[in-house]
């Protein structure tokens, strides 16, 4: 079916670009409000509608409630990590570390900080954020580590969750918007791969 003869009204309706603009404006409004000092508490359907310049119905048509709206906006701002598949554990981890590090300067970085900080007060929202936004990203890290293990590059016995905590923790350390020093992602990966201890330190460990 050629574009000119289509009869699908949604595909060519004049309202469609406006609807996309509205969705973008709503997501931006949610992220702007979430980045405010009061975080999740600053977000209400009313405040989002006013800031985005849309009616509340326009919001409810897309997201059934505030929780779905916030998680949707966070998912739009924090995309799944791209699996580099370079064929080497170090090359993959360096690229992932750079991706994670590059997100720090983002103007939305504070949204995520506020949502994690508000986890205790908004446990359902936080659980959904973890599940919908964070877990798919961690899954990419797990996959990279698994391939490294299969290629004999990851020490058997290393707990992947501890390895991920080291990598992500070191890169997320500092304030939400501080940029990382030049070469920091590479230094983190090399230090995690090679370890900081000599045989003497590891011997102490075995003797315990």
């Amino acid at each position: 079916m050629s574009e000119t003869t289509t009869r699908d009204p949604a595909a060519r309706a004049p309202g469609r670009p406006r609807s996309e603009r509205a969705e973008k404006a709503i997501i931006e409004a949610v992220l702007d409000l979430l980045a405010e000092e009061s975080g999740v508490a600053a977000v209400s359907i009313e405040a989002v509608a006013a800031r985005a310049g849309v009616g509340k119905t326009t919001i409810y048509r897309r997201w059934p409630n505030k929780e779905a709206l916030i998680v949707g906006a966070l998912a739009a701002a924090k995309r799944p990590l791209h699996d580099p598949e370079h064929g080497s554990l170090r090359a993959d981890l360096v690229e992932l570390a750079r991706q994670i590090g590059a997100e720090r300067g983002d103007r939305h970085a504070r949204c995520f900080w506020n949502v994690v900080g508000g986890a205790e007060k908004h446990p359902r929202l936080y659980a959904r954020y973890r599940n919908d936004v964070i877990e798919p990203r961690r899954e990419v890290l797990r996959r990279v580590l698994r391939r490294g293990l299969e290629r004999g590059e990851l020490r058997p016995g290393v707990d992947p969750e501890v390895a991920i905590a080291l990598l992500v923790g070191a890169l997320a350390h500092k304030t939400p918007r501080d940029r990382l020093p030049e070469g920091f992602p590479e230094a983190v990966v090399d230090t995690v791969l090679g370890g900081i201890g000599t045989e003497a330190a590891l011997g102490t460990n075995a003797e315990r």
Copy 2:
């Protein structure tokens, strides 16, 4: 001079215990307000005075301004790390990791999260917090790593700031009040000491 004959009015003034109680109430009020969703924005001398049940003058007599008051309260809640001096890098790091991990369950944990998250909005407060509260703690970690290097337990060439980011980052990861799983501090230290990569992974690195 015996206690009964002292003429120092401050030392025996009946107001002294009351004054200590007031100071404690003020610090608790600051920490409670800081842990609120709006963080630093929730703290004002008025709000602290009302919550602590003291007059504003009582606060100003001890802290010249809001910034000094907040940093003073944070310093009271987050003490310098205790340097274990066990004579082994692993033993020292494990004890420090346990100290840091144990703070996570603390009801004040969210104060620190909020102050770091508000760094961009309150840069002077954040700088002072880093300098007065965080730096002395990092200095203990640096000292432990330095002793490890002198004993031949730390690989020469390891950047202590990267090592600290790995250790602290992995332990601070997750939400501010989530407790760490049993054995996690030890797993973090052993994984940082021994590294996650095999010779094959490190060889890849050298070939780059």
